[in-house]
């Protein structure tokens, strides 16, 4: 029980970036435990030959091409065989479905929303709880399943692992229909916010649909676009295409002007801006921890003045 396993996330037959981040961490942890970094990948026609780790368990089958209830069954079998000390998964839609399940089934303690992990006799992890307002150091007895936030670890790039390729029949698992994949849905996009150099991004603090226009005007004046955090999309004040974060887009603008955004970790996962400037009435809002410049002031007091002043400059 020295190995460090990574649940590789594959969507549309593509290995997701988070898997390389987890493998980077797995190699580091395995060098401390004296074990191997092991990748567990389930899919169909996926090239796993250069994954950066020591061993890849690759279970290939037509039925595993897209995520379904078979994945959790296969994973459970393989994890029992590998018997790792640590299992790393992404704190993502697929990662949480899989890891939460196998942790209980195999009776391994679990820590989620993590950005740090270390091993000694036990497993230690740091979790970004309470929307990023607090950190929690957790100790997991002997072994642990760690769900890590995107962007927490440095990605490893390439390797030449030993690949153990298996089929469903090799491991004695039959197809089932508990959860069947039907299709992918790609929402129509009015705009690709990840392509803009300036984003004026609004959060719950924008208060209502009627205030969106001011933020839009400000974005236009700065030559950018408007984006948002999840609550704004949930309330249908802006379309889904504008959402930044875990479920939305990852953006890399020169300027990310965050207006009334608290900065929960699921939002910050998508913000890779060069300069974050935040305006929020709550001085403890986590958004200020990733901002270069901040102002603790009501956005409604400052936006109209800002718009007028920029207009003056432009004239």
């Amino acid at each position: 029980m020295k190995d460090v396993a990574v649940i590789v996330e594959i969507i549309e037959s593509t290995i997701q970036d988070i898997s390389y981040e987890l493998l980077g961490k797995a190699k580091e942890l395995a060098s401390q435990t004296g074990g191997k970094a092991v990748a567990i990948a389930m899919g169909n026609k996926v090239d796993v030959s250069s994954l950066p780790c020591d061993t890849v368990y690759y279970i290939e089958d037509d039925a595993l091409e897209n995520f379904c209830s078979l994945h959790v069954k296969v994973l459970s079998k393989i994890v029992q065989e590998v018997n790792p000390k640590v299992i790393l998964a992404g704190n993502t839609s697929i990662g949480t479905d899989l890891a939460g399940h196998i942790a209980v089934e195999l009776n391994i303690p679990v820590a989620s929303l993590c950005n740090k992990v270390s091993v000694n006799e036990n497993v230690r992890a740091t979790s970004l709880a309470y929307g990023g307002k607090l950190l929690v150091d957790l100790e997991l007895k002997e072994r642990g399943v760690i769900l890590a936030n995107r962007g927490s670890f440095t990605a490893a790039t390439e390797g030449s692992p030993e690949v153990k390729k298996l089929s469903l029949s090799d491991i004695g698992i039959e197809a089932d229909n508990e959860i069947e994949f039907i299709d992918y849905i790609k929402p129509e996009e009015d705009v690709d916010i990840s392509k803009f150099d300036v984003l004026v991004s609004v959060g719950r603090g924008i208060g209502g649909e009627e205030n969106i226009d001011d933020a839009k005007e400000l974005a236009e004046l700065l030559g950018g676009e408007i984006s948002s955090s999840r609550p704004v999309v949930d309330s249908e004040w802006l379309p889904k295409s504008r959402q930044v974060g875990r479920s939305g887009k990852t953006v890399t603008p020169n300027l990310y002007l965050a207006l009334g955004i608290s900065g929960a970790s699921e939002h910050l996962e998508g913000v890779k801006a060069k300069n974050v400037i935040a305006i929020n009435t709550d001085p403890d809002a986590p958004i200020f921890r990733v901002s270069r410049i901040g102002a603790v002031i009501d956005i409604f007091d400052v936006i109209p003045v800002l718009i007028d002043k920029i207009k003056e400059i432009k004239d």
Binding site: I11, E12, N66, F67, S93, I94, T96, D97, H101, A103, V104, N107, I108, V110, A111, S112, A129, Y130, G131, G132, L134, D137, L138, E139, G144, N177, I179, E180, F181, D183, Y184, I185, K186, D197, G223, D234, E236, S241, Q243, R246, S247, G248, K249, T250, N254, L255, A264, N275, P286, F288, R289, I293, G294, A295, V302, V305, L306, K309, I310, I313
Partner: protein, 251 residues
């Protein structure tokens, strides 16, 4: 469809949270936002397909009172029953809550159990997937819409980066809701007060087992990196922002 939605309270992040080493004392509790979406989706499904919605509010002795308004809100929106389940002891471990709930759900015969995904206090795992193992039911999370189809539900699940996947899930099942398919409906305060006056909130106890595999070593505030704070009246702040925009090269 016989539906159950799980509603929990979480610390109100707008208020102070006092940290005392391995414990925290929040100043106030509010309904977990994602659970409110689970309740909303449950009511949407009842309106579309008929059936019933039970909402269970899981609380401990500290958050017992704060659940009453969200439970009344669920009744005002169209839930049929509201049940307050008080945990026999305070537990931050999702696995203990999941095991206790699985026991509670025995013989309740729900077709669908909806829970919000990953509350802000979900640092020891997620209730939905854990509950599904103990109940031997299928689970999937990050769900944004549900349609019933002959003993199954067709769900849309967020996969990240704006991509959605469509899946067919055999009933009975547990789903983790990230957003209801429509925005949370507005309940006027007068109506909520009216419901609260005559609401019958049933009460029960949830026997929490012990699982010591994971424990909190300490809670603490993250370090505050250096930041340039712009202070002053709106006029001054706007001037300083413009300077910053110029320096960054966007103006």
């Amino acid at each position: 469809m016989k539906i159950c939605a799980i509603l929990r309270t979480v610390p109100d992040l707008v208020e102070e949270i006092e940290v005392i080493d391995d414990e925290i004392e929040p100043f106030a509790y509010i309904a977990n936002e994602r659970d409110e979406h689970a309740v909303e989706e449950a009511v949407i499904l009842k309106e579309r397909y008929g059936g019933s919605v039970d909402v269970i509010g899981i609380v401990d002795e500290d958050s017992e009172e704060e659940i009453e308004e969200p439970l009344a809100m669920a009744l005002a929106k169209g839930a049929d029953r509201a049940i307050k389940l008080t945990m026999s002891n305070k537990s931050y471990r999702r696995i203990e809550q999941a095991k206790a709930l699985a026991e509670y759900f025995k013989d309740k015969d729900y077709d669908l159990i909806l829970t919000g995904i990953q509350g802000i206090d979900a640092f020891t795992g997620m209730l939905g997937p854990m509950l599904s193992v103990y109940m031997e039911l299928p689970f999937t999370g990050y769900v944004t819409s549900v349609e019933a189809e002959d003993g199954t539900v067709k769900v849309q699940k967020e996969l990240g980066g704006g991509l959605l996947g469509e899946f067919r899930v055999k009933l009975p099942a547990i789903l983790g809701i990230v957003s209801a398919e429509k925005p949370l409906r507005f309940v006027p305060l007068a109506k909520l007060r009216q419901v609260m006056k005559k609401a019958e909130i049933e009460e029960d106890e949830l026997e929490i087992p012990e699982f010591e595999g994971v424990q909190v070593v300490k809670y603490y505030e993250p370090e505050k990196p250096e930041i340039v704070l712009l202070e002053g009246e709106p006029e001054e702040v706007a001037d300083k922002l413009i300077e910053a925009f110029k320096e960054i090269g966007v103006l």
